[in-house]
């Protein structure tokens, strides 16, 4: 069920006020086209008594199989000489009525049960959930055909039954929205004030579900039209009444005599469904779009990246120091509209010598993780490196994509923050470690296994052979972090980038992991960039430290000096707040 839930788009955003909805809908060209088309279809049906050139089923034997655009028959005529245009017009009301019926019944059943389930939960929800699953596993067309044996040609009964069969889509939608809203504060507040359940559901919950329901209705109406036309096409409709599907069936069985007869009903059915689906998409955009579009124009993106690359080639000669890693003028940004980019790292310099453990501290959002990701070239896809260079032993990784790829895993290792989500749940520990090691080292699988077993023992895992056969969900967070550390150092890198490596761990495990990192650094001469917001960790482990704020490094020093005599006000505040936290914890 969980997999399915992630696939269906659940919607829980509360929309803006209703009056501007119509205006926003009308300012969207696609929306206007759909609405106009659907209005025309409705007029086409409603006005048929006045506009249709012929009466329903009025046959004119002189125009049997008349071609389109022939005298008096714009769309041609069928094999009985009935005017196709008139037949379609007379059939429209039935289609509109049918999809209206589907909508009313599905909304009535689905929304009510969804509201009650989401609001009261408990046994009602359990039963409704079972019935929903049951209905959704039924082959609806086969049931509608079976129904025919019972009721004879009665499309409206069939559509009513179809309404029940699609009600579960509303049920699921509404229930998930209500579950979201239910926990929100204003419901609690309403309860405290003493509003009755009915009032709460009516006022607040209905308000929250109305946008998703409106969107869903557009899609349900579309499927209603498709099913109705299909059932009529199978010959289950009333042969006395013109209907879209019936006309199509007629034309299809007559396709050798009048080829173009199928064209009109097929087009009318498909376009109406298409209009409803597109309208649903527009409604979703209008009702649920967040403030504005954050994707950058492609040309703009390319221009910005080229500019950064050009500046880089111009400055290659200068800037590089003898350090293992030198970051110069690094600028990272994220798209914030078609032409705008929000910079999150503003031209930062950083040097890490061999064997040095460098702490990068700052509050969340200060850009420290962005620096770490840039070093490894693992920024999210939409991020832009707007300028600067990252030199590893004098080679600019940002100027040379191949050098960056070669450095990953071989020269620079990565230890992530959250241990459990950073192991692939579908592979055993052993398999993913072996894949990783063999990606950077030319060795056989057997050699890789032996090497990793030794390394797992080193990072403090007992029974490494059996641990390698386990899946990530079978080990603890502390163990997972040791596995990840093993993965990071396996390729024998010179530098480790550790992004908050202890934040997600239990306090008792934290100290062990820090100790392990220190030992590994000494044993292997590893340099380390340690991203953290915890000054205790910095004091414990680091040689030097940089303090970041709002995408800039505001102060850097060796650890003792920084702690004894901080220069910047921001650093002082940071130190004070961490001290007060320590006092509170003690």
């Amino acid at each position: 069920m969980s997999a399915e839930a992630s696939l269906t788009e659940t919607v829980a955003e509360v929309p803006g006020p209703g009056r501007s909805l119509l205006r926003r809908l009308l300012s969207n060209p696609q929306g206007v086209i759909c609405i106009v088309f659907l209005l025309l279809v409705i007029l086409f049906g409603v006005l048929s008594p006045w506009l249709a050139p012929f009466q329903p089923n009025e046959a004119d034997l002189n125009s049997v199989n008349a071609q389109p655009f022939s005298e008096g028959h714009l769309f041609g005529a069928d094999r009985a000489g009935r005017d196709i245009l008139s037949q379609l017009m007379w059939g429209t009301n039935g289609t509109l009525l049918g999809s209206l019926l589907v909508l009313v019944i599905a909304v009535l059943f689905g929304v009510t049960t969804g509201l009650l389930s989401g609001f009261y939960r408990g046994r009602f929800e359990a039963i409704a959930g079972f019935v929903t699953d049951l209905i959704m596993s039924l082959p609806s067309i086969v049931l509608l055909i079976a129904l025919f044996a019972l009721t004879g040609p009665n499309v409206m009964v069939a559509m009513a039954v179809f309404g029940v069969l699609v009600a579960p889509t509303y049920y699921r939608l509404v229930r998930s929205v209500v579950l979201g809203v239910r926990t929100e504060l204003y419901i609690d507040a309403a309860k405290v004030v003493g509003l009755s359940d009915q009032r709460i559901i009516g006022r607040h919950v209905l308000w929250a579900v109305r946008a998703p329901v409106v969107i869903q209705s557009s899609f349900v109406a579309a499927s209603g039209i498709a099913i109705q036309a299909g059932v009529e096409f199978l010959g289950l409709g009333d042969p006395e009444q013109p209907s879209w599907g019936g006309i199509l069936q007629n034309a299809n069985s007559n396709i050798y005599n009048n080829r173009f007869g199928v064209l009109w009903p097929a087009l009318l059915i498909s376009l109406t469904i298409l209009a409803l689906i597109l309208l649903g998409n527009v409604l979703r955009d209008v009702l649920q779009s967040s403030a504005h579009n954050r994707t950058l124009k492609k040309s703009r993106r390319r221009a910005m990246l080229t500019e950064a690359q050009n500046a880089r080639t111009a400055s290659t000669a200068s800037g590089y120091d003898a350090a293992l890693l030198s970051i110069r003028g690094l600028k990272v940004g994220y798209p914030d509209g078609p032409d705008r980019v929000r910079t999150v790292v503003h031209g930062v310099d950083l040097d890490v010598r061999r064997g040095e453990i460098h702490g990068l501290v700052g509050e969340s959002g200060s850009g420290k993780s962005q620096m770490a990701f840039s070093t490894l070239g693992i920024l999210p896809k939409e991020a832009l490196i707007l300028g600067g260079s990252i030199y590893l032993d004098g080679q600019d990784l940002l100027a040379d994509d191949k050098a960056l790829k070669n450095a990953r895993g071989r020269r620079i290792g990565y230890i992530p923050q959250e241990p459990m989500s950073n192991l692939d749940p579908s592979f055993t520990i052993g398999a993913q470690l072996v894949y990783g090691l063999r990606a950077v080292k030319r060795i056989s699988e057997k050699e890789a296994k032996e090497e990793l077993i030794a390394l797992l023992t080193r990072v403090g895992i007992r029974n490494p052979e059996s641990v390698m056969r386990l899946y990530p969900h079978e080990i603890s967070g502390g163990m997972a972090q040791r596995v990840l550390i093993c993965g990071a150092v396996a390729g024998d890198p010179d530098l480790i980038v550790a992004d908050e490596p202890t934040t997600a761990l239990d306090v008792t495990v934290q100290a062990d992991v820090l100790e392990l990192l220190r030992e590994l650094s000494t044993e292997r001469g590893l340099a380390m960039i340690l991203v953290t917001h915890n000054l205790g960790v910095v004091a414990d482990l680091c040689d030097t430290v940089s303090v970041m704020k709002n995408g800039r490094i505001v102060e850097r020093n060796d650890v003792e000096s920084l702690f004894s005599s901080p220069e910047q006000d921001y650093t002082k505040t940071l130190l004070e707040s961490s001290r007060s936290v320590e006092l509170m914890e003690a």
Binding site: L234, K405, G413, H473, L484
Partner: protein, 312 residues
């Protein structure tokens, strides 16, 4: 093993429940059935005799338990009109429908994985094309696609037969030709929805933390995607595919109608229009069994793919 057993029991419960409900609806009106068989000229006493003849005067629960006991041994009754047993009628009809559905499922799997991965990984115009196809595929019902295909490739350009089915043991080439258009008709809508959902599953897997870690460990991008991302998108992807079967069975009924294929849909449709209740009941039950089997296979495959479900 426990979750699989649970899902098996659940399937059995659903089958029993739906069979019972359908049976009550279908056999509830004994005189109606008899009247439909005998036609409207029949006298009241003839109808009453027929009702007793067919055993439709007994309590519904007795009729159902009778039917159920027979059904378990593979006897689904016989047609009111031709006297043919339902099982033998189904035995020629089911293979035709299953051929369509399974062939379409296989191609859906291949195409939607390829399209879904490509659209998710490369994005850009490919992504836009996929979105366009998925809207179009959802908008045009399968019977209209089938008509359009017949119109184009059987009538205007005479590449394929417009109607009819040739069984593979009679002529393999003929079989391929006879199922090409129906399969393509089903495939368009099916790929349209499965590919865009699979694209979502791939995007979901791509955004996972471990993908970043694997990249940082120096794995080639192709390994990251084809080994790790694909494997993790596989579970949700299978769910999509097993849900797809339900839609395909429905679609097959329409396509059989357009192309005059002697499958289950045609049988259900004809029997329903005649009022041949045991035949209709038989097709409903077999369709539900097929759907439940596919769902169960989906669960099974999922438990193989997902180590968490395996060990629990």
């Amino acid at each position: 093993m426990l979750p699989l057993l649970k899902s098996l029991l659940r399937s059995a419960a659903i089958l029993l429940l739906v069979s019972f409900a359908t049976f009550c609806l279908m056999f509830g009106n004994g005189t109606g059935i008899a009247r439909a068989i005998l036609g409207y000229q029949a006298t009241e006493s003839d109808v009453q005799r027929k009702v007793v003849d067919l055993g439709l005067d007994r309590p519904l629960l007795v009729q159902f338990s009778d039917w159920l006991v027979n059904a378990v041994t593979g006897n689904l009754g016989e047609s009111f009109f031709t006297g043919q047993t339902v099982t033998s009628a189904l035995s020629t009809r089911v293979p035709v429908t299953l051929t369509l559905v399974i062939t379409t499922l296989i191609f859906t799997l291949i195409l939607s994985v390829l399209l879904g991965v490509a659209a998710a990984v490369y994005g850009g115009w490919l992504d836009k094309v996929l979105q366009f196809i998925s809207v179009l595929g959802a908008a045009v019902p399968p019977f209209i696609i089938a008509i359009a295909l017949v119109f184009t490739f059987a009538i205007s350009i005479r590449l394929f037969p417009a109607t009819g089915y040739i069984s593979p043991d009679r002529s393999f080439g003929g079989w391929i030709l006879s199922i090409t258009l129906p399969v393509v008709a089903l495939l368009i809508g099916s790929v349209a929805s499965a590919a865009s959902q699979f694209r979502g599953a791939v995007l979901d897997a791509l955004s996972k933390d471990f993908v970043r870690t694997l990249r940082a460990r120096g794995l080639k991008e192709s390994h990251v995607i084809f080994r790790h991302v694909l494997r993790n998108a596989g579970g949700p992807g299978l769910t999509v595919l097993s849900l797809q079967t339900l839609g395909l069975l429905g679609g097959a009924i329409f396509v059989e109608q357009v192309m005059a294929l002697p499958g289950m849909g045609q049988m259900a449709n004809q029997s329903a229009q005649q009022g041949d209740v045991p035949m209709v009941m038989g097709t409903v039950v077999v369709t539900i069994i097929i759907v439940l089997c596919v769902n169960f296979l989906g669960d099974l495959a999922n438990s193989v793919l997902n180590p968490k479900a395996r060990t629990r």
